[in-house]
């Protein structure tokens, strides 16, 4: 079913030695969340799903969109918009999801739309700008300059780690 991958590449920032290896290229899957383009290192991507029905989980933390059945495995879907403090999607709006494995468990990142796989060379890489919002700084491994816009490299670990069931147990309603 799902193969486990080198976890270092998935969660760690990139690159290790900027400037020494200028010609190296890396593959990213791009996606958009509320008009912002993000990228996830391709090796961290297990699967891409289109509009799948989600089962809401009562009392779950608000960042959790629900759970779904992926070939017999039950995986937790994360509402990336909510996690990043962006406005919620319009009801019924189409969405897609990216399946990624983190710490032995599969997660499904619900995003607006999935773009394409692109290979980017390191000379397009920039550190996080100093003015980046705190909420974003934690989950961003840096910025790539694309032709027409900027792409934020998403760090899955910090994105998921901060979602804690404790808030849900206290009784946050779902989908309010």
């Amino acid at each position: 079913m799902t193969t486990s991958r080198n976890s270092g590449a998935r969660t760690a920032g990139f690159p290790t030695l900027p400037g020494t290896d200028r010609g190296a290229r890396r593959d990213f899957l791009t996606f958009t969340v509320h008009r912002q383009t993000f990228g996830l290192p391709l090796e961290a991507v297990d699967d891409v799903l289109d509009n799948r029905p989600l089962t809401p989980v009562p009392l779950a933390p608000p960042e959790i969109a629900g759970s779904l059945n992926l070939r017999g495995r039950i995986i937790t879907a994360i509402d990336v918009r909510r996690r990043l403090g962006m406005p919620a999607m319009a009801p019924g709006a189409s969405h897609m999801s990216i399946v990624t494995e983190y710490d032995g468990e599969l997660f499904n990142l619900v995003v607006d739309a999935v773009g394409e796989v692109i290979a980017l060379s390191e000379d397009r890489y920039e550190e996080n700008p100093a003015t980046l919002d705190d909420r974003w700084r934690d989950v961003s491994a840096g910025i790539y300059r694309l032709e027409s816009n900027l792409m934020v490299v998403l760090k899955v670990g910090p994105l998921l780690d901060s979602i804690d069931g404790a808030a849900g147990a206290a009784g946050t309603p779902v989908g309010d």
Partner: protein, 889 residues
């Protein structure tokens, strides 16, 4: 790692697992050549293989151990506690080495010089003693060992069998009582081990392979379920046949594969004899460990999870429960304390009892600790019964331990034990009698992987509830037989004369809070806006709780999968699963629901926990105000219904307030003359029923329903108040329902029905009512008195037998089943074993009418059974029983 090494390690750790138990048995029976032989073989094999695999450290340790063991072979008198301790140390060292080898594939740099030196010294001392010809009983050898005389004597030839020595010391008194042999189940561990070794019919399969098989079977079951749904919609005969076969084979495969996960409970017990032995050496106590039912099997996953809790409980029993020899002697008990482990199947569960005959839990110490840890205030403690105080040992923060280690179980508090047991859907209960001992009862499901579940719907979502927790389904609809009533803000369902507390799943999970569904839901309970719904009666321990849902679908075999990491803190789900149609649903955890809904802070067993003080049983009470505004309470079990009667419907007849109720006239009584029925609006009334007759008790206002452990201060002046109790922190009068019923029946029904009902020509039948709960006795006897019996009360089986011995004749006996000390079964057996009551019909009262209980009760000699809450039924059964008895006579 190379295969050979891996196989060696697996085999060695398996034999080592059995070694602890064997060594402890050897200590009890030093002259048992067979046990010694099997221990010796393990060491010998390890030593030999090590040489072959080039593991010098392990070889040295095993060799030194083997040397000491061979001195045992020559002279069983050398099997002293010190020597056995040393061998056990050696086993630990070997185990550590093997553990390290399993991890790294290489021997660790541990220094075993000290251990080896100790072993050698012991060997030398032993040889010296053997040479001296000293073949003394172990008890004295213990002291003499270091100072062995050096007189030369003919040593046993190296190759001589051990029997000679065995015979010589057959009279040796072991430091501990050796009736493990006599007790058939005690040596099941050792027995099983040998069986495996001897048969050769089993093969070693890695757990990973099994786990993946199980996962595959789980997937297969899911696919089968999906196909099942497809097949239902299509009508193709040939396909249906094939499908039937596939389905059956899948089920069989599932059962077969699940069987591979099953292991006897004794595998979780294997270490216990060693632990008890070490503790008894450490503390100087004499402790005997009895193990029964070790062959009962359960899922290895569950076994893993209960291993540590069990170890901890046994350790606790040995450490805190069993007294020192001196204390036991002073208390008039045998010097040897006993810890009994007993496992048996009951329904889909396995029950493990851990009982000791020690001093029981020390209430004063627990009390101090509660205060010290700030778990309750002195004022709160004041109001708690002993049984409630005992339950504090299960609370987080009670244990002194700061760190939690799972390996040894040492330092793990009972709260961790409880949460581990509950994690796997189990229940733990505790009974402790001061001076007599403590019994923990752990009830756990046999398997976790695939369960049968009921699928329910609420607010458009589906959920699964494990079938094992569901005892009943009730459909509530307008005009139906059942309806939900509100007591203050708490919904209750009156079900066969019992009021069942309800929890609305919609409210609990905050479902349907979306705008679309909000319009009708202004009320507190969203479910009340629907008038057609279901109540799932869930059984949690011995308690019941109704869960309100909108719809009930089907039962399905579901594969339980763990809840995602981020969802684990939600207390209401025990897992998640995929249904036949592929959708994901959550599995509800009735335990969690009950706990969070505030109804089951401590798991309890109403009957089992009611110990010597029957007054302290937990009861559900209806709290109300009446007349003088003081708080009054009646037990919920006695109340038939709660009604609001239109004041205009209240009439007066014979100078009494009455109301037409369900086709009959119902008299209304008040607690005091100043409490008059209202002249307008709604009059709240508690309805009590006795057969066809009903009486309404006028109350001002129903305040609440509480569940509390009653500590009643009885007063006996018969003015309608049984006594008073502190309920919910406020003084509350307990109303003597019997008093008012008698008043109503005598004044009202007495004129009409009295003559016909009571046959004046007959003497009153004498009824013996046996229950361990004084409160229950006081409630029941007036009712039975109204029905025309002369009631004699006995507080428990022992007291009843005293009455028997005093020569008191009775016509019929009504007895509770669940009583501490002599329970109902034992009492019935005692009654029917001869004597003046042997022909007296007996009726059993039980709150748990399981098939098993019925069977047991019938064997014990009970004529009939009545559920404890069924007062009407009791009267009916009594009439019938006495009639039959009369005809037979």
């Amino acid at each position: 790692m190379d295969d050979l090494l891996q196989e060696f390690l697996a085999e060695a750790s398996e034999s080592l697992g059995l070694l602890d138990g064997e060594l402890v048995r050897l200590e009890d029976t030093p002259d048992d050549g067979e046990i010694l032989g099997s221990i010796f073989r393990v060491f010998h094999t390890i030593k030999g293989t090590c040489g072959f695999l080039n593991l010098p450290r392990l070889e040295k340790v095993a060799h030194a151990g083997e040397d000491l063991l061979s001195t045992f072979r020559e002279n069983a008198g050398l099997v002293t506690p010190e020597a056995v301790s040393l061998i056990l140390r050696c086993v630990d060292a070997i185990r550590a080495l093997i553990g390290a080898l399993e991890v790294s594939g290489a021997e660790p740099e541990t220094d075993h010089a000290a251990l080896i030196a100790d072993l050698k010294e012991m060997v030398a001392a032993g040889e010296a003693r053997s040479r001296s010809g000293e073949v003394e009983p172990a008890a004295t050898a213990e002291a003499a060992a270091p100072a062995a005389s050096s007189a030369p004597a003919d040593p046993q030839p190296e190759d001589a069998p051990a029997q000679a020595d065995g015979d010589a010391v057959s009279a040796a008194s072991s430091p501990r009582k050796a009736d493990g042999e006599a007790d058939g189940g005690a040596n099941s561990t050792g027995g099983a081990g040998r069986e495996v070794a001897a048969s050769g019919k089993s093969i070693r399969v890695s757990v990973d392979v099994l786990e993946s098989l199980i996962t595959l079977v789980s997937e297969l079951v899911l696919t089968r379920n999906q196909l099942l749904q497809l097949a239902r919609s299509k009508d193709d005969g040939r396909a249906a046949d094939s499908f039937q076969r596939l389905s059956r084979i899948t089920t069989e495969l599932q059962e077969g594969v699940m069987k591979t996960r099953m292991q006897p409970v004794s595998t979780a017990w294997a270490k216990l004899p060693r632990i008890v032995r070490d503790l008894s050496v450490e503390t100087g106590k004499l402790i005997e460990l009895k193990m029964k039912g070790g062959e009962a099997e359960l899922d290895r996953q569950i076994l893993e999870m209960i291993r540590d809790p069990l170890t901890h409980m046994v350790r606790n029993s040995a450490d805190h429960g069993i007294e020192t020899r001196q204390d036991r002697r002073a208390a008039g008990k045998p010097e040897t304390g006993t810890i009994t482990l007993n496992a048996f199947h009951e329904g889909g569960h396995i029950i493990i009892e851990i009982a000791d005959d020690g001093r029981g839990l020390d209430i004063a110490r627990i009390r101090d600790k509660i205060l010290e840890r700030g778990l309750a205030t002195p004022g709160e403690l004041e109001r708690l019964s002993d049984q409630q105080i005992r339950q504090f040992i299960f609370k987080a923060g009670f244990s002194t331990a700061e760190t939690v280690t799972s390996v040894s179980g040492r330092g793990v508090g009972m709260d961790v034990v409880r949460s581990n047991v509950e994690k796997i859907g189990g229940v733990i209960e505790l009974v402790s009698v001061p001076g007599k001992g403590t019994t923990f009862t752990v009830k756990i499901p046999l398997t976790l992987a695939i369960v049968s579940a009921l699928i329910v719907g609420c607010a458009g979502q589906r959920f699964a509830i494990p079938q094992i927790c569901v005892s009943e389904l009730v459909h509530v609809a307008p005009g139906g037989a059942h309806r939900v009533e509100m007591v203050n803000t708490a919904p209750v369902l009156s079900l066969r004369n019992r009021l069942l507390p309800l929890v609305s799943l919609r409210d609990l999970l905050k479902l349907g809070t979306t705008a679309a569904q909000q319009e009708g839901g202004a009320g507190k309970s969203g479910d009340n806006t629907r008038d057609d719904y279901y109540v799932i009666v869930a059984q949690i321990g011995s308690r019941h709780l109704g869960i309100i849902v909108d719809e009930v679908f089907d039962t399905e075999e579901i594969v339980v999968k763990p809840v995602g990491r981020m969802l684990r803190k939600i207390p209401f789900f025990s897992g998640t699963t995929i249904l036949g149609d592929g959708s994901v649903i959550m599995i509800l955890d009735p335990n969690g629901i009950a706990a969070t809904a505030g109804h089951a802070q401590v798991s309890r067993n109403e009957q089992a926990t009611a110990m010597t003080q029957g007054e302290q049983q937990r009861s559900s009470l209806i709290i109300f105000r009446s007349g003088d505004r003081s708080r009054k309470a009646v037990p919920m079990a006695l109340v038939e219904r709660l009604e609001n009667i239109d004041a205009a419907a209240i009439e007066t007849a014979n100078g009494r307030a009455v109301v037409q109720y369900r086709g009959h006239m119902m008299p209304l009584v008040a607690l005091s003359p100043e409490c008059k029925p209202r002249s307008e609006g709604q009059q709240p009334v508690l309805v009590f029923a006795e057969g066809e007759r009903t009486v309404g008790l006028i109350v001002e206002e129903i305040v609440d329903i509480v569940e509390d452990q009653l500590v009643v201060e009885f007063k006996g002046d018969g003015d309608g108040v049984l006594g008073s109790a502190v309920i919910d922190g406020k003084a509350t009068d307990l109303v003597d329902v019997g008093h008012y019923l008698t008043a109503a029946f005598a004044d009202w029904f007495g004129i009409e029905a009295g003559g016909a009902d009571k046959d004046e020509g007959h003497e009153k039948k004498r009824l013996l009512l046996v229950d361990d709960c004084a409160f229950f006795l006081r409630m029941m006897s007036p009712k039975l008195a109204i029905s025309g019996f002369e009631v004699i009360e006995a507080l428990g089986g022992e007291q009843a037998m005293e009455l028997h011995d005093r020569g008191i004749d009775v016509d019929v006996i009504v007895s509770d089943i669940e009583m501490p000390g002599m329970n109902g079964f034992a009492f019935a057996e005692a009654v029917h074993s001869g004597g003046r009551w042997s022909e007296v019909p007996m009726i059993a009262l039980s709150s748990r009418l399981t098939a098993q209980n019925l069977e047991r009760g019938r064997n014990a000699g009970f004529t009939s059974f009545v559920a404890k809450a069924h007062r009407d039924e009791l009267c009916g059964v009594l009439r019938k029983v006495l009639q039959q008895d009369g005809e037979a006579a």
